[in-house]
């Protein structure tokens, strides 16, 4: 209820006690640490990352040797999550796949956030023709349905016989291509409203140069928003990658990703009889993405309470 909050706020505001001298960032950090849900989200993400990157070091099965004698064995003491149709240890593969899935998610996020921020900020700052061009391209990309666009790109990759080692990088590019327009639009909107604010008009009055205004006064104000968008974007990118790889249009075997491991479910027998092949990677995606989203939401509360949606 508004009145309670405003009364509280008033009561706090009117306080004459000297405020703690801490920066906004450390205040935000303290607030974040109080949010149990967000902290546990972060903990899960860290755990998944550590297990995926460090786990294989402790696994005796990293060589992925094909062992026909161990085909499709259910979970056991030796193979906690069983073995696949080539006799490889599923747990080890899930961890190795996690490395790729997390990397793809992270890298494509970095790329789309970079593109989205740069283009959105430039469009919102310079307006006019620059804005027109950038936003028309963004509109165009937003009009074309994302999944078919990704499918076409995936099919192009397959037909051009791109080596599987490189596909991973191209998949990152593809995901960023689809993701940046939404981000750019949001950043641009923020930019337009920031421009009109008093402190920016003060900067104009002071006669600051464009680049200085853009990089020292405007973009820093967008950083909380960017951090939040970036976090939530990783989850989305991991999900998109898994869909593509599941349909055989993303990262291809033998490079394992969580998505292409679930591809086992496309085979009737594996789907019905060998659920240990495809359920663990699915659960991994789910756990990772939910943890990222929970953490991202906590960040949003702390960094930018206004944009809570």
């Amino acid at each position: 209820m508004e009145n309670v909050d405003s009364v509280k706020a008033k009561a706090i505001r009117t306080g004459s006690r000297p405020r703690r001298r801490s920066s906004l960032w450390s205040q935000a950090l303290q607030q974040l640490l109080k949010n149990k849900l967000a902290v546990s989200g972060l903990a899960v993400v860290m755990l998944v990352a550590i297990v995926c990157f460090a786990g294989p070091l402790f696994s005796p099965y990293t060589d992925n040797k094909i062992n026909m004698a161990l085909m499709n064995k259910p979970p056991s003491m030796q193979h906690w999550l069983g073995t696949d149709k080539l006799g490889r240890d599923v747990l080890t593969r899930v961890m190795q796949a996690g490395r790729i899935s997390l990397t793809v998610g992270l890298a494509s996020m970095v790329l789309s956030v970079f593109l989205g921020t740069l283009l959105g900020a430039v469009a919102g700052y310079y307006r006019g023709i620059v804005d027109q061009v950038i936003m028309r391209v963004a509109d165009l990309l937003l009009t074309i349905p994302g999944l078919p666009l990704l499918f076409i790109c995936g099919a192009l990759l397959s037909d051009w016989k791109v080596p599987t080692d490189y596909r991973m990088y191209i998949v990152m590019l593809m995901l960023s291509l689809v993701n940046w327009p939404g981000l750019a639009r949001m950043i641009r909107g923020q930019m337009l409203s920031l421009r009109e604010r008093e402190f920016m008009q003060a900067a104009v009055v002071l006669g600051l140069r464009d680049r200085r205004k853009l990089f020292y006064h405007l973009i820093p104000n967008l950083i909380p928003l960017i951090i939040v968008m970036a976090t939530l974007n990783i989850g989305g990118a991991i999900l998109s990658e898994s869909v593509l790889s599941f349909f055989g249009l993303g990262v291809m075997p033998p490079t394992p990703t969580w998505g292409n491991m679930i591809d086992a479910a496309n085979n009737m027998i594996d789907f019905q009889e060998h659920p240990w092949l495809w359920i663990p990677p699915g659960v991994s995606i789910f756990a990772t993405v939910i943890a990222i989203n929970v953490f991202g939401d906590g960040l949003r509360d702390v960094l930018d309470p206004k944009m809570k949606r």
Binding site: M1, N3, V4, V7, K8, K10, A11, I12, R13, T14, G15, S16, R17
Partner: protein
């Protein structure tokens, strides 16, 4: 005259991150029938919280802790069930707020919003309620009432909306009208009109008004009795003429001095030095101590009680306690 509302040692507090905020700290006051009582004080002094506590608008809100008693015609409002309280709200006690622009629902027409309490409390039929709504609008001095009922809030001015709020508040002929800074958000000329409307309706209906304000001009205009609050406590109270003529508490004096008077230009406008204390870090003392020009040693560690300082005038200040002790 009989007592309509009697607030006794009301404490309203909220949990905050760094402790408990005592927004209202042991406030007692009474409103007689047909009387206009004004609560005056700076923002954050707890005057609005007092009003909202009477309305029970904190009920069920996480953490709000209300103690003491609020007797309305011998019923303790704090002891009523949700259901019973709802039957009182809008019916026997009505309230108008500071921001008329945001206090009306933007997606419902004026008519729909005016009809609601009539349907809820007086059990009128829709047809009767609509007719009554038009009458009410007329009563608060808005012309073209037939058109106004069909309007949405954004189509009317702030002054009109506050009149609509008044119409809504008086629709069930309440015995008490609580007005929380009803004129603060309005232009000066409109303020006077709204106060006139309030006064006229009060005279017509004989209801009591509990008016919350920080504006001493409004107090002088409308009040019979004044209660001055500071940091959640009542520091002085008395009949309006006495209080304005002979304010006792240094805070009340400060308030009166900081009001500019026409024809008496001074070098600079007076303002009370310092700030309202932090409601979280209070120890037993006079809370006004560090802003007071008469501060004494005792003020720092003992809390003054509200005591008689004149005919029907009471103040909570060691200056008078001391004087009494010496006499």
């Amino acid at each position: 005259m009989s007592i309509l509302l009697k607030i006794d040692r009301l404490v309203t507090q909220f949990p905050a991150e760094e402790g408990v905020i005592k927004a209202v700290d042991g406030v007692s006051l009474r409103v007689l029938q047909g009387e206009t009582v004004c609560i005056v004080g700076e923002s954050g002094c707890g005057k609005s919280v007092t009003a909202l506590s009477v309305m029970g608008l904190f009920q069920g809100i996480a953490g709000a802790d209300i103690r003491g008693s609020i007797l309305f015609e011998d019923r303790d409002l704090l002891a009523l069930s949700r259901h019973e309280l709802r039957a009182v709200r809008g019916n026997e006690i009505a309230m108008i707020f500071q921001e008329p622009m945001s206090s009306l629902n933007p997606v419902l027409t004026i008519g729909e919003q005016l009809m609601e309490p009539l349907l809820e409390h007086l059990k009128l039929s829709k047809k009767e309620a609509r007719k009554k709504a038009v009458e009410l609008i007329e009563q608060v001095g808005i012309s073209r009432p037939e058109q106004i009922v069909k309007c949405y809030p954004h189509e009317l001015s702030g002054g009109m909306l506050q009149r609509v709020m008044i119409a809504m508040a008086i629709s069930c002929r309440p015995k008490l009208l609580i007005a929380d800074e009803p004129t603060t958000a309005l232009d000066v000329t409109i303020q006077a009109q709204i106060l006139d409307t309030l006064r006229r309706i009060k005279e017509e209906s004989g209801m009591s008004i509990l008016l919350i304000t920080h504006d001493l001009g409004v107090v002088a205009e409308i009040a019979d009795y004044v209660v001055v609050m500071y940091a959640g406590k009542v520091v002085e109270e008395g009949e309006v003429t006495r209080l304005f003529e002979a304010p006792k508490h240094p805070y009340t004096r400060g308030l009166l001095r900081s009001k500019p008077v026409l024809g008496q230009r001074e070098e600079s406008l007076y303002s009370i030095p310092g700030q309202v204390p932090d409601l979280l870090a209070l120890s037993p003392s006079c809370y006004f101590y560090d802003r007071c020009e008469h501060g004494m040693e005792i003020c720092r560690h003992r809390e003054p009680a509200l005591g008689e300082v004149g005919e029907r005038q009471r103040a909570a200040c060691w200056l008078y306690e001391e004087a009494k002790a010496h006499a």
